[in-house]
């Protein structure tokens, strides 16, 4: 292997390949009683939608419990957070260094902790309500960890609470510049910052155009889409979001970031809040003279109650979890649960998530060529590590260069538009047939090659058979495979079971066998590495069925 070259490349970007050991997701409660019949393939499918990667053990639990009971159990799991971990570490003089530990705890939770569904939904939310380490938050790791914890806490909560907390979180305040936004000063041609006003509506809640309940564009009499807002409404919301900054400061002007205030909601400084009337969505005028808190509640209620939110959030969460191209009926069904969870409550995200995963379209009997999606690159990695107990001697997963290698990483988007667009369609078949494949936006020749090479390193270099691992190297445990690796077919079966749920195309199986047979039967480590490498770099592993 040309490992030297890849290693030097990785060294040159300052990436440390270490990892730490996590266990498996072992400590689960006792199994509840009678399971509806779930096939192994269905269990794998569910787990790849709802966790950071299916494992044999968890698939057995799904088969034993049934899908709904498994989801219900997941939603009751104690939640795994990030900030407590960072708070237990010494504070470095250069705060940016702590981003390594922030990414580390994200991986620890994603690979090892049992509250997988919650973590996976929080990750999906972090791709809708984006903040990022890349930019002004580089030296605010506590703030980012706290933001991620908030998404984790609200993953099955109410969307209205979620956008309330997102709006006042100082990480978002910094990222979309609501923090420090002040009322107009006409003498200096200063007017409120429109950044958060615009992106909350475009990206977090309602989108640019009015939607039908099935997610399609609502058209006017000339068959044209209808914009959801105009500049006057943007300015109305921009005035709403004035007067907020870090909590606990002596004054608005003196509010500066510290370790504590970057993790707690922003505070209103009333003298800097605009007291005029403000135009909001759907013709609502907020009267003059309200407090900043009243204004904010009115504005977020106004957004929350816009009929777009149901289909908008349904599409985005379905795309992150299940399929790039949900049918109108799927969107309609999930959006209806957003509108009413069955108990008259709007915005119940737990009910929405459950509706997404329990829908027939999440488990089609006769899959179509547009069912499923491309896995996010990061999830290809976590799936491998979960299936093979990826861990390091030190316990760490210091993959802070994740965005560089995979084109994405935890809270590491290049901008508020996320790693990829929900509307991206690559030229050719997909675009010509008006479908989308968002994850393919970052599956460029360059990024795919980087990832393929990285998997080569992981499979051949960073495995349990390597005696030269360093304490931060995250390695996969291939001892089970090595024990049977002299038997090519048995080896292929085992790897295919762990990574593909037992289903593999003829071509991949044939090529795996052909390559494994080129390696001496006593070289069990490289035979195993070859098998795993061929699966994790294949189109069928990149695909989530």
């Amino acid at each position: 292997m040309n490992k030297t070259k890849l290693l030097s490349l990785i060294a040159s970007i300052g990436l440390s390949l270490a990892g730490c050991g996590g266990g498996s997701s072992g400590n689960s409660p006792p199994l509840p009683p009678p399971p509806p019949a779930v096939t192994k393939a269905e269990a794998f499918q569910l787990l790849n939608q709802a966790t950071f990667g299916a494992t044999q053990a968890e698939a057995q639990r799904v088969i034993a419990m049934g899908i709904e009971a498994w989801i219900d159990e997941q939603m009751q799991m104690p939640m795994s957070l990030q900030l407590p971990h960072l708070n237990n570490l010494p504070q470095p003089s250069n705060m940016a260094e702590l981003q390594v530990d922030r990414v580390d705890i994200w991986f620890r939770n994603a690979i090892n902790e049992p509250d997988q569904l919650r973590q996976r939904v929080a990750f999906a939310l972090s791709e809708i309500m984006v903040v990022s380490q890349l930019g002004a938050l580089i030296d605010a790791p506590y703030s980012l960890a706290s933001y991620n914890d908030m998404l984790t806490q609200e993953a099955f909560g109410n969307y209205r609470n979620l956008i309330g907390r997102v709006t006042l979180h100082p990480a978002m305040g910094v990222y979309l510049s609501m923090l420090g936004n002040e009322k107009p000063n006409p003498a200096l041609n200063i007017r409120p910052d429109e950044n958060y006003a615009r992106e909350l509506m475009q990206l977090f809640s309602i989108g640019l155009v009015e939607l039908n309940a099935d997610g399609s564009d609502l058209l006017d009499g000339q068959n044209q889409p209808i914009p959801t807002y105009d500049q006057a409404i943007i300015e109305g919301f921009a005035h709403i979001y004035t007067g907020w900054s870090y909590a606990g400061a002596p004054s608005f002007e003196q509010a500066r970031r510290n370790r504590i205030n970057q993790t707690i909601p922003m505070q209103l400084y009333p003298a800097f809040h605009d007291g005029g009337e403000k135009q909001l969505l759907n013709g609502l005028m907020v009267p003059a003279g309200q407090t900043g808190d009243q204004d904010l509640d009115a504005a977020l209620d106004n957004v929350f109650n816009h009929p777009n939110v149901g289909p908008f959030i349904a599409i985005r969460l379905i795309q992150r979890l299940v399929t790039s191209n949900p049918s109108p009926g799927y969107i309609l069904r999930v959006g209806a649960v957003f509108d009413n969870n069955g108990f008259g409550v709007r915005g119940d995200l737990g009910a929405v998530v459950k509706a997404i995963l329990m829908d027939d379209e999440a488990r089609p009997e006769m899959p179509m060529e547009i069912d499923g999606k491309i896995k996010e690159p990061l999830i290809r990695l976590t799936q491998l590590w979960r299936a093979y107990n990826g861990s390091s001697a030190s316990g760490k997963y210091p993959l802070v260069a994740s965005y560089y290698i995979f084109g994405q990483g935890p809270l590491q988007a290049a901008h508020v538009f996320n790693f990829f667009s929900p509307f991206f369609a690559p030229a050719g078949e997909i675009r010509n047939s008006s479908f989308v494949a968002p994850e393919l936006e970052i599956a460029t020749e360059y990024q795919n090659t980087f990832i393929t090479n990285y998997f080569l390193l992981l499979c051949f270099g960073l495995n349990s058979a390597n005696p030269d691992l360093e304490e931060d190297d995250v390695f996969i445990d291939i001892s089970e495979e090595q024990a049977i690796a002299a038997d090519t077919n048995a080896l292929v079966d085992m790897v295919v079971d762990k990574l593909l749920g037992g289903t593999v195309s003829d071509v991949l199986r044939t090529e795996m066998i052909g390559m494994i047979d080129r390696i001496d039967t006593v070289d069990t480590a490289n035979r195993t590495a070859e098998a795993i490498y061929f699966v994790v770099t294949s189109p069928e592993f990149a695909y989530q069925r």
Partner: protein, 456 residues
């Protein structure tokens, strides 16, 4: 020097020719089907430098004479650049105002004054010439979703006007010239900054590489030796990605892998053999990207390239916050990297064949939000190269007065020149005949000037 295996390109395309290319490179394969070949006699390259986030370019080009500067300063208040700091430029065509550049852009000043650079002022997406009255009385046909980042980036890249388009103007250019570049062994469009709509069209797919060039697959060999396991690994990998798959997703993914495997080692091989450039580039993301573009241009003959479009880009221009603090580095970085790139084309003896130009989401509000600015519309763009009629400002410089003739509110300026005219001018130079300019720039017929005249 080895060349790409044409068979690899042709394999997927001949059958698909009628149905639009899935997985084909532009030009290369399709020319075989079209049949007529009229090769260009020369080489030309366009380099798009995309400034993501919306460059506040009314702080890049600034009126310097007293009367006009005072209007500027009154509007911009705490966002204003000091008059005495402006770098003086002296355009050939006088409009009665003196102009200057942001003090961080000395490289650009040198290029402008020596006739190597031009500026197109107050340009942006338009469907038709548009006045303030048209907008306020509702008669204006406007591009949808003005002031939204991704939509206005798409406008610049696709020139789609009011109707949805899924192709980019440089992609359409590549489609149009495919019969003229039949010998090319690489994609006409190369991106060093990810997938861009600009470069994508019916029959065109851009090849996406990194800032320093393509990556090669670590475990693949081209030795042809059947006992070489790395050669066998490559063949086995290719058989997997060449297989038939049931879903659009696997097919889309496999197609990218096919392009990557087919091209990376050949391009890198050529780059490794290329003589080093003496020109020093800044060690910035934009500097690295433009250095790689210059190196790729230096090996153009290896791949028989006649026309190339490169896409590079950097972010950070969405200056809602801390604009005064951040703008010098942003604009200075653009000036320094683009100047180095121009110098490299001089070193390569090809400065008259390579034109670099900027695009950006939009200009920004003349007013401030306290410590930054918000999304607006018209802005100023740069064109650099020896084929540019330089040392001039093209278009009509707008009134910078708040609520003035060009302001739709808050200092959002209505463009006085359209992005369609800009692209059409560049495309015309690139070899697109006048009658095809409406394919490149669909709204071009709505504007009196089909060519802004800034290219030789």
């Amino acid at each position: 020097m080895k060349k790409l295996n044409r068979r690899e390109f042709l394999a997927t395309t001949s059958a698909a020719a009628a149905t639009a290319a899935i997985g084909s490179y532009p030009g290369v394969a399709f020319s075989q089907v079209v049949g007529t070949t009229a090769p260009f006699p020369d080489y030309k390259a366009l380099v798009c430098v995309f400034l993501h986030g919306g460059n506040d370019s009314f702080n890049m080009l600034i009126p310097r004479s007293n009367a006009e500067y005072s209007v500027y300063a009154a509007s911009r208040q705490n966002m204003a650049v000091a008059q005495q700091d402006l770098l003086a430029i002296n355009p050939v065509t006088a409009d009665g105002t003196d102009y200057g550049l942001h003090p961080s852009m000395s490289g650009l000043q040198g290029l402008f004054e020596s006739g190597r650079a031009a500026i197109i002022c107050n340009i942006g997406p338009l469907i038709q010439p548009t006045t303030k009255a048209d907008i306020f009385n509702g008669s204006a046909k406007l591009p949808p979703q003005l002031f939204s980042h991704n939509d206005q980036q798409d406008q610049w890249n696709s020139l789609r006007g009011a109707t949805v388009s899924k192709t980019g103007w440089a992609g359409r250019v590549a489609d149009l010239i495919r019969i003229n570049v039949t010998d090319q062994q690489m994609a006409t469009n190369i991106s060093l900054s990810g997938n861009s709509l600009l470069q994508s069209a019916e029959e065109t797919v851009a090849y996406v590489i990194g800032s320093n060039g393509p990556l090669e697959f670590s475990s693949f060999s081209n030795s042809g030796d059947p006992n070489d396991i790395f050669y066998q690994q490559r063949l086995a990998f290719e058989r997997v990605i060449n297989a038939n798959y049931d879903t659009i997703y696997e097919r889309g993914f496999a197609e990218v892998q096919r392009r990557a495997v087919a091209t990376a080692d050949l391009v890198n091989g050529a780059l490794n053999d290329a003589p080093a450039l003496n020109t020093v580039f800044p060690l910035t993301p934009l500097g690295n990207q433009l250095r790689t573009v210059a190196r790729l241009i230096s090996v153009r003959d290896t791949f028989a390239m006649q026309r190339q479009v490169f896409f590079v880009g950097i972010g950070g221009f969405d200056s809602h916050d801390d604009q005064v603090m951040n703008q010098p580095a942003l604009l200075g970085g653009v000036s320094e990297a683009m100047t180095a790139f121009y110098n490299a084309t001089v070193e390569l003896g090809i400065a008259d064949s390579v034109t670099s130009f900027t695009q950006s989401d939009f200009g920004r509000t003349l007013t401030s939000n306290g410590d930054g600015t918000d999304h607006a519309w018209g802005g100023n763009q740069l064109i650099i190269g020896d084929a540019v009629f330089g040392r001039d400002i093209y278009g009509t410089f707008p009134s910078l007065e708040l609520d003035g003739a060009d302001d739709v509110g808050g200092g959002r300026l209505i463009p006085t020149t359209s992005a369609d005219q800009y692209a059409a001018t560049l495309a015309n130079w690139f070899g697109i005949p006048d009658q095809d300019l409406d394919i490149v720039a669909p709204s071009i017929d709505n504007f009196a000037l089909r060519d802004l005249g800034f290219m030789i």
